[in-house]
Subunit: 297 residues, 4 copies
Amino acid sequence: MTRIAFIGLGHMGLPMARNLLKAGFPLSAHDLVPEAVAQLAGEGARAANDAHDAVQDADVVISMLPASRHVESLYLGDDGLLAYIAPGTLVLECSTIAPDSAKKVHQAAGKLGIDLLDAPVSGGTAGAAAGTLTFMVGGAAEALEKARPVFQAMGKNIFHAGPAGAGQLAKVCNNQLLAVQMIGTAESMALGVANGLDPRVLAEIMRQSSGGNWVLERYNPWPGVMETTPASHDYEGGFMSELMAKDLGLAQETALASGSSTPMGGLALHLYRVLLRQGLGKKDFSVVQSLFGAPEE
Amino acid sequence: MTRIAFIGLGHMGLPMARNLLKAGFPLSAHDLVPEAVAQLAGEGARAANDAHDAVQDADVVISMLPASRHVESLYLGDDGLLAYIAPGTLVLECSTIAPDSAKKVHQAAGKLGIDLLDAPVSGGTAGAAAGTLTFMVGGAAEALEKARPVFQAMGKNIFHAGPAGAGQLAKVCNNQLLAVQMIGTAESMALGVANGLDPRVLAEIMRQSSGGNWVLERYNPWPGVMETTPASHDYEGGFMSELMAKDLGLAQETALASGSSTPMGGLALHLYRVLLRQGLGKKDFSVVQSLFGAPEE
Amino acid sequence: MTRIAFIGLGHMGLPMARNLLKAGFPLSAHDLVPEAVAQLAGEGARAANDAHDAVQDADVVISMLPASRHVESLYLGDDGLLAYIAPGTLVLECSTIAPDSAKKVHQAAGKLGIDLLDAPVSGGTAGAAAGTLTFMVGGAAEALEKARPVFQAMGKNIFHAGPAGAGQLAKVCNNQLLAVQMIGTAESMALGVANGLDPRVLAEIMRQSSGGNWVLERYNPWPGVMETTPASHDYEGGFMSELMAKDLGLAQETALASGSSTPMGGLALHLYRVLLRQGLGKKDFSVVQSLFGAPEE
Amino acid sequence: MTRIAFIGLGHMGLPMARNLLKAGFPLSAHDLVPEAVAQLAGEGARAANDAHDAVQDADVVISMLPASRHVESLYLGDDGLLAYIAPGTLVLECSTIAPDSAKKVHQAAGKLGIDLLDAPVSGGTAGAAAGTLTFMVGGAAEALEKARPVFQAMGKNIFHAGPAGAGQLAKVCNNQLLAVQMIGTAESMALGVANGLDPRVLAEIMRQSSGGNWVLERYNPWPGVMETTPASHDYEGGFMSELMAKDLGLAQETALASGSSTPMGGLALHLYRVLLRQGLGKKDFSVVQSLFGAPEE
């Protein structure tokens, strides 16, 4: 049976690791927060002393960390984890990081004969818990095939985006578009309601028309339109504005490097930065509705 | 059988009228262009001498005109058509015009006991020909029920958006959102491809993920991703950029009147104006892709 | 001696009328707020019973009102003031209104042989009190020459912008640019300070370099950079954000009518609308600094 | 007499070096383009074989290179120039580069006891030729005092912006603001002219009013308003759009690093990227006027 080492048990990593345990994978786990490790150990994982210990005898290493610098610091350098991982091991780097950073880790792994995939996810904490995440994967197709059963224990859609770094790139493009259409949806909702339309009626018309999008299907930013969205629960839960700002920052970094023009993506970033300044960084990213008007006012 | 008068036989009006004829409705028709009238007469319509002649004995009057000023000039004033329409007649005003303009015509019709609905459509010339238009309807619910069989001969989805003017408002909100996500999609496509992603793969990943929207489902702006889109045919056909600029202008007018904040909607308008200045007003609105990069370059 | 009727004694009108009294002009005054009229009467004006009474025997009529609808309602219609003003009288319409609205009043005045100038001002309440306003004047050059001594009692710079409506157009263009560079200045101040620059040093470098502008000369939005600016007094006084939003709205209306592309002007409007929603409409327009960061935080 | 080594004889470097020769400084010069070195040698400079040769016996080293990577590659690394420069030497790094890159070079120099100043310029090729550049200087105040005579041979205004990197930061902030007000000016010019104003009259009114800025004083983007501007010479000469795009990219990098919100600065970058895509990267940056309308059309 494939032995897995899981590093990074935060809001996303913990439920992902849990789904691997449920699927029967032997799992060793590490996180800087001992409580998270203890919790998972109580559910059947081996509590590793540190990252180096975790990857001992592992067939697959999975990491889920906050940002590029944590990932580079984990894997690279003289004492980096790659030096402790046996050739032939499969590394699934699931953090959302800069495509260039992902390529750097790919390159280092390649030199050591380690199969690495960049495999950022979408679907949020709810998708992590339900095991319905989407994985956008960059790296060799054969490595993806080997990894498929592991991904399937944690997610539903597994896309092969292309070579090294392509998973991060696809996620950056997708999340930039998501932010643009969240803001566009919030603007049109506020515009219609300010002029007398019923928010539920407007939401339903646009959902079924050419304005239709994922936000209108699952995640309407107007309070009360959908019962289970963060918008209907004071914008709690979901995907935090500060994480969306991070992803939009990665998109702008990527656009800078390629000389791309992304006026809507750039504006989205700067509007989220305004929200963060107003102390709304921990709220769900649909709280951008508050910039344009919402019923509480 | 319900007798219909149809005024305005342009790119949209002509195929809409045709579908009414096919459904068996007796139809009288008028347009300033005699050729359009002659063509429809050849298919069974009565060629009216003018608008006043067209509405003689009509149970339902349908108008499909370019802009607010044409609609106001047709219906209002001492010699306006409303003065020649019998009380109890049903008027379906299907042009895309300013919500305030629609309300003005509603009010005048109401004083004369004429049932009027503002019922702008979405779906483009393809939807008009196929009889699959979406109608967004403002006005009394009972009037909508009376009009339903007529709408059904021309379209598939019929939404009741609310009272007088609500149809126009819903369309304005929907089309603003459509423009924002067309531009957002074009930006993310260009960003991904500039960084090495395959356009088809990226399009498919976003379509199935949280970036999913109507544009990715049916109308991808990147040439070659979908065979039948305007993007794959030099941006010919479809919905012209200058018409999208018109709709975005109506959105900004509406936002000005209500003091609404729509930064993405405003930016969309000004980017389309840049396109128009470059002589691309007659191209499909997905030509906005050219601002950000496309494969021909 | 030229007899003047002054209608509209608000924050701007009252100090302007006062300067005319000081210059020795006989003045009759009207405002809907009796206290304002009484105050000016105490300083030597004749308190008129209403607008019609005010213009009795006047050689020059000056109006200073909040918006287009007030101006149209004052002058136009069967009982409008123009019907009570003798041919040959000079009307100085100093309100900031839509250029199209100004043209409408010009046209009506022209038919009656009344010389009208649209003459919006810039300089704020401080300039009104000090008699240092700038007048941007539209209408016949000869009329401007006749009006010059009156303008000079209230202002310092008198520009002839062109024919009817040109004064309003020039003001709209100027204030759109002012808003854009206020926001641009606030962004660059926040960017520099967030990265460790001293705000006073940065302000001085940009002021003397190619970033130099009126805002950096007189109206720095960063608290403490200049002692006498609203920014250094909790953004009190000066030119209210809601008035800037109004002017930016006029700019967008004008841009819509001419099909002009103004992405920065449009974004400026929508950012000010965000500020208004946050309850900052009565603060000076330099409070836009708070969107991007300011020292209090 | 202070001996100077000058590295980088491009559009800016060559005329700057020339002014140093004219001021009597003994100068050794290096550039990858031998013609540039030969030209300067013809005017009295010593042609160095390479950068290492150039800095032999120099009291002051000046570099003027295209971008961060060239500067880092010149100075840093085992074979970097810093290793060949004697402690106590003064290095004036005049390229426009990322503030973080400047700090890196500062740090390396500091360790070796070399006095380094980041000293990017503004004023363009015209200012370089005339010796009227502005220097924005980061680093120790005493080093700036030592360097002052050298700066004064090339420029007019020398600002001490703060510690290491502050010169680059000040330039980034200034140029972002310059771009924003160039675009804002172009928008208002086009808006006014489209509505009938005379461009010269409008330009003069705004210049003397609250819209006043450096662009209106010296660099109006509307052809024909000022005889000597690039706008009046088919946008040739001046400061190339692609260089402005580079500077706006540095501003966005800086904003990303500090989490700053700069919606106007971000939009400016993306509009310049649109211009570059249209093949206008080598034209003066006032060519942004063409996006919004200009008389040739």
